[in-house]
Amino acid sequence: MTTLQATTRSYVAHEYPLWRRLLLTRETAIIAVLVAVVFYSIGNVENFDGPLTLTYLLLDTAPILLIALPMTLVIVTGEIDLSVASVVGLSSVLLGVLFEAGYSIPVAALVAVLAGVACGALNGFLVAYVGLPSLAVTIGTLALFRGVAAGLVGTKAVTGFDDRWTDLATAKIGATGVPVVMILFVVLAIAFAFLLHFTSFGRGVFDIGLNSEAAHFTGVPVERTKLILFVLSGAVSALAGVYFTLRFGSARGDNATGMELQVIAAVLLGGVSIFGGRGRLHGVIAGVLLIGVISSALRLEGVTVNVTNIIIGLLLVASVMTPSVLAALSGLASRRNNRGPSPSSAPVGVGTQER
């Protein structure tokens, strides 16, 4: 009779079999679309399978891939960081200014990344501890960081970086055509995937996004978690800024302007909910690559950038709409199935709206 001793029930761990949990997901759908677009492009787009396509595609998307990693975690908590591209710009300018002042690239890069940490800490402090909305805070720091960057160098650009370092930024791994920067990305991707999906910290990230109050009541350090994520976002953005500068050999205050929206678009395309609580890192990576592949293929086809933007915009809207449409359809189906005796409290008129 006593509840604490009787273990009368046993439980299955999962509602659905493994294949269903793996295959019927938003992430799988994005990966499938990515694979389809790649194969279609190889077959139909001239030069898509050429040696340089992959290299340039990855070189171009590397900063977005990098920043999308912490951005995913930030968005999963229900927050957003719009200041990332400005941190790229600030980091780029710092690298240039310090290099001009005679510091070596590693030292300058370290300072730039530390500046990114400081930027992220400012965002995180205002959001987590002061309690301001991240949308407002990071719109503000977007302007602030960009302003500081522009102030440091004005309209000029710092160039003439060491060939050793600029070459490294565009170097390929052996004869593969895959840029070296991908090693950095893969290492960080594994680290972030581990953090989000295989640690108690990551579980807390999801809990905060789903129900921040319940997370607080369960002992999840809500403020500290958010601070850490904004700091990571700042640090990785600054790292992306160092790469961006060396890749183009130019440190400018307006580097990567507008990149925050490309990053957020790719994260949402990858299946992360803008309301927080949902998303997986492999979907995000597929989302970034999907946008990269589509842009690359369309460019090879000679399609203008404007048309490319229209297509990617439509794709994003469609991807955001799909879950709602599916939910509405299944909701309609279930309402048809269990239309029992209508309770007297049901709003008048529901019965007349059925199709």
Partner: protein, 509 residues
């Protein structure tokens, strides 16, 4: 469907007969009856959960009744919305008025029905004049041009009343209007209420304060467990008989409290204060002891519990658990010291409903489940399964969302989550609110058993029988202070209710 007028005298301004309302499986109102005459003030009293609010909401058109009759001046009514109820001259004034803070007092009174002049422009002058007339009639001095922001709760209520009068409301229902008012403000509200009565309107006054009820009201209707108990003339009764009617059921045998050996002090709270919430709260809970925290809704019970656990801040005082000082505003410190907290609102605070059963149950202890730094879903399921089993949580699979479960099962998940931490002190706020009778008994048996194993339990409950049946000791909270500390064998519904309703505070302590 013409309703026969009752044989006894003329039709009442408002009459409800055997009104019932259920929400799903939960019956909020079984058989509510109320008869309010024009030109009188009628009190509606009962314990928390007696069905008063549901009854009011049916009259206000918020809920639609499942059964029974609602008569207005003898005419049968069926309100589908609050607008329909208002159109018939019913006004409800809630404890917390909902004014638009940035609009002026006048604009709030005439919201949605502003008088228009030439060219359909709002006629501000006419509005202000009318507002001034209303206030003069009520005998209050409020500048109609000032914004609602910054007005005291009392003034906000006066504005709601002015609004009701400008709508020519014949029935005014005030749901605990005095809960947030000071003595002077209460007097002014009562003066207004009396003048409205003398104009021939019908007033319903809901309050937990008996001194006010007896001061203001002509008749009293008592409700209990969703049903009408009796209606009496104030002149013919006294506080004791009303309290007896409110609680009047046998308690004790419903709740299987087994005596446990009471050990050393586990929780020690000293001088805990939080401005506006509670003041100088000190108490102890010992191993094996169930301490019930009783009091009215809003007395500060949950706020005290939340501050003890550290989810809320407090201004002064200290919390010690088994000799270890617990850091203020740090739930993690409380958890480390061995505290567990099942909060009041399980959907908002207790659970992440959109997360799986396994993740919820392992939510507090998951840090320790990682192997070589790797926390897997499999480890979470393995850890959660035995706890789900011990509490007999009913779910199809451990990875199903907690949102899909019934309230009782969700509560079991919350309890399982905290028992998994192997706590020394369990704070449980409204352990059985909104859960079915069977699960209720299971939860009670579980609490009794945990106490038997030496756990210290602090239980907050608005259900008096639950407190009296389960607790070894009852602490009564009234307006943010502990007003009584009553041992199990001395605790009666009467002395707990007395301590909880300021009316005769000193008698209980």
């Amino acid at each position: 469907m013409s309703q026969p007028t009752p044989a006894t005298g003329p039709a009442a301004a408002l009459e409800l007969r055997d009104v019932a309302k259920a929400f799903g499986a939960v019956v909020a109102l079984r058989s509510g009856s109320l008869r309010v005459e024009a030109g009188s003030i009628h009190a509606l009293v009962g314990e928390n959960g007696a069905g008063k609010s549901t009854l009011v909401k049916i009259v206000a058109g918020v809920h639609r009744r499942d059964a029974g009759e609602l008569l207005l001046d003898g005419r049968s009514m069926d309100f589908g919305s609050t607008a329909e109820s208002k159109a018939e001259g019913i006004a409800v004034i809630y404890q917390e008025p909902t004014l638009f803070p940035d609009l002026s007092v006048t604009e709030n009174i005439f919201m949605g029905r502003q008088p228009v002049g030439a060219g359909r422009r709002i006629d501000r002058a006419a509005m202000h004049t009318e507002a001034e007339q209303l206030f003069r009639r009520l005998g209050v001095h409020i500048d109609p041009r000032r914004p609602a922001l910054g007005l005291s709760i009392a003034d906000q209520q006066i504005i709601e009343i002015a609004k009701a009068i400008s709508l020519d409301a014949r029935v005014l229902i005030m749901d605990e209007p005095t809960a947030a008012l000071s003595g002077v403000e209460v007097e002014r509200l009562f003066a207004v209420a009396r003048s409205l009565r003398d104009e021939g309107r019908a007033l319903v006054f809901i309050s937990h304060r008996f001194d006010e009820v007896f001061d203001l009201c002509d008749t009293i209707t008592v409700m209990r467990d969703g049903s009408y108990v009796d209606a009496v003339r104030t002149a013919d009764t006294d506080v004791d008989s009303i309290v007896a009617m409110m609680v009047g059921r046998e308690v004790g045998d419903l709740f299987p409290k087994t005596p446990a050996e009471i050990g050393e002090t586990v929780l020690k709270v000293e001088g805990l204060s939080s401005t506006g919430e509670f003041h100088d709260v000190s108490f102890e809970v010992r191993a094996g002891e169930i301490v019930g925290l009783a009091g009215l809704v809003g007395a500060g019970r949950s706020e005290i519990a939340r501050a003890v656990f550290g989810v809320d801040r407090y201004d002064a005082g200290s919390v010690t658990l088994a000799g270890r000082s617990v850091k203020p505003h740090d739930p993690r410190s409380a958890i480390r010291a061995g505290m567990a907290f099942v909060p009041e609102d399980r959907r908002k605070q207790g659970l992440v409903t959109e997360s799986s059963v396994a993740r919820n149950i392992s939510g507090v202890i998951r840090g320790g489940l990682a192997r070589a730094g790797l926390l897997t879903g499999a480890a979470e399921s393995r850890s959660a399964a035995p706890w789900a089993g011990r509490l007999e949580v009913k779910t199809g699979a451990l990875d199903m969302n907690a949102a899909t479960m019934s309230g009782g099962n969700q509560q079991k998940v919350v309890i399982a989550k905290w028992l998994a931490t192997n706590p020394r002190l369990l704070i449980i706020d409204e352990p059985t609110r909104g859960i079915d009778v069977g699960t209720k008994a299971e939860v009670h048996r579980l609490l009794s058993e945990l106490a038997g194993q030496g756990m210290a339990i602090l239980m907050i409950s608005s259900e008096l029988p639950e407190v009296l049946g389960m607790a070894d000791r009852v602490l009564v909270v009234c307006e943010g202070r502990i007003t009584a500390d009553i041992p199990r064998d001395e605790a009666t519904p009467e002395n707990v209710m007395r301590a909880a309703t300021r009316s005769s505070q000193e008698a209980a302590s």
